[in-house]
Symmetry: C2
Subunit: 285 residues, 2 copies
């Protein structure tokens, strides 16, 4: 397995792989791998001849008040796990390599980023779309694999790839969960035992919503009332948002019709967790 | 010579050329070719195995008050000239192909677009960088050739390519002029005979500035005073800007030191013309 730190070296490697007719599958990550990341990598391995993974905690997607410095990092463990799962190259640049001093170019998706995390984290999606554009130009993948736990991010990347005519297939993989239902996240390590218990309110409230849906309920106001009531009944908890949106526009909808997602962002103490469920899809919690 | 209207078809063609080890040179244009365009194409032919030219009047770079509708178009003439000069493929999509109804993604370069045309035409550079990003993803060039008549645009594209790690060599070609010095532009057809005479004030004022420079003058305020006085002495003329800027930052400078450009935008009647001169470079007017 190769470890590449330089943009130029990664581009030369990617160009040479493409020149040999090999299909590059790419999983962009911020590292600190959990089973969810490994799922994405296994899917990437199936879909390409050469599996590339980036490990880069992207400062452009963190606000100054957020956890950029505290974000967990363990490169040696990540390297071992990546090697085991069949990754061929890890691209892991430093910040100077990605954002030199006079850096000034940004990619923005407007419509689908206006709601949900786009309100709570105003610069977040601009940071994500910019770094993904850069990574796509560096790693030159045929196919890129993203987790659907970050549902709005997935929709945003797909929209960007389509709008900017990037010749990349974007794949979304369903959320990997702990046995008790908690969506896997590198940020789960922030939780103390009491918070860890309260964190289950997210996935359990998805279940409550799904049960209402299965009984025929389609009014989003009613479903959201139950979801919010359930989450708010837990200690350490502050709801950032709980909304039901059309997956094409990410706008709130009054009724569940077409493809519709229940999206949650909840503060558990000082840790902000997200989770979601697309109505009609399987939910194994 | 191939004429391609569809994004997908162009990408397949480009991918196949690259797969065969052929180097793609690309000249993005809005069509209505003059000798300046043909210069760019000849340079492209020298630098690549396959020369691709796009013809697309990009609505995203025109304000509602500007000349998008009136912009001159003559596809049959362009096709003939391109074929003569050795173009292998013309990519000429329609607006629905480039900007479908729910289009929502934009690329913005911040620093170098804040001055000059970035002030007079607030959405212009966003439109240019967005369409160039799209065209680069569609045509997949190894090298792209731009005219330096649009100097700030050239600096902006170079900055975008560098910041977003696009693996493309960007070449700038010096301005092609009519025998009397007028910079070639598709918009010159808008000028009536009296305006055509006044339009010479741009290139002639560059000459005046260059003579002052050659005599040792470095104070930009003094040079600009002479330039403005000369231009303003012509009928039908209204100066949009006349500024001297550092070519790395495109900010105004008080003295000519390092690489510095005199940039002009002047209304001649209802036609807005631009021209520029980088001090120390040859100026044959």
């Amino acid at each position: 397995m190769k470890i590449i730190r330089s943009v130029r070296e990664m581009q030369i490697f990617a160009e040479s792989e493409r020149g040999r007719g090999r299909r590059i599958a790419f999983v962009p990550t911020m590292g600190y791998f959990h089973e969810g990341h490994l799922h994405l990598m296994r899917e990437g391995r199936r879909r390409g001849d050469c599996l590339a993974v980036s490990i880069y905690v992207n400062p452009a997607q963190f606000a100054p008040t957020e956890d950029f410095e505290a974000y967990p990092r363990d490169f040696e463990r990540d390297r071992r796990l990546a090697e085991e799962v069949g990754v061929e190259v890890i691209f892991s640049p430093d910040n100077r390599e990605m954002y030199p001093e006079d850096y000034q170019t940004y990619v923005e998706v407007e419509g689908v980023t206006n709601n949900l995390c786009g309100i709570s984290r105003p610069r977040f999606f601009r940071g994500v779309t910019t770094v993904c554009t850069k990574l796509f130009h560096i790693v030159k993948p045929h196919v890129a694999v993203f987790g659907r736990k970050d549902f709005q991010q997935f929709v945003t990347i797909k929209r960007m790839v389509q709008d900017l005519n990037m010749d990349i297939e974007v794949i979304g993989i369903s959320t990997t969960r702990e046995p008790d239902g908690l969506a896997m996240s590198s940020r789960n390590v922030y939780l103390n035992p009491g918070e860890r218990e309260s964190a289950l309110s997210l996935s359990r409230s998805l279940n409550i919503a799904n049960e209402l849906y299965k009984k025929g309920e389609r009014e989003t106001a009613l479903i959201l009332r139950e979801v919010r009531k359930f989450i708010a009944g837990h200690p350490y908890v502050q709801i950032d948002y709980a909304q039901i949106c059309d997956t094409a526009t990410m706008k709130d909808v009054p009724r569940i019709e077409g493809e519709t997602v229940l999206a949650l962002a909840v503060w558990i103490g000082k840790t902000r967790l997200i989770d979601n469920h697309v109505f009609g899809e399987p939910l194994d919690i």
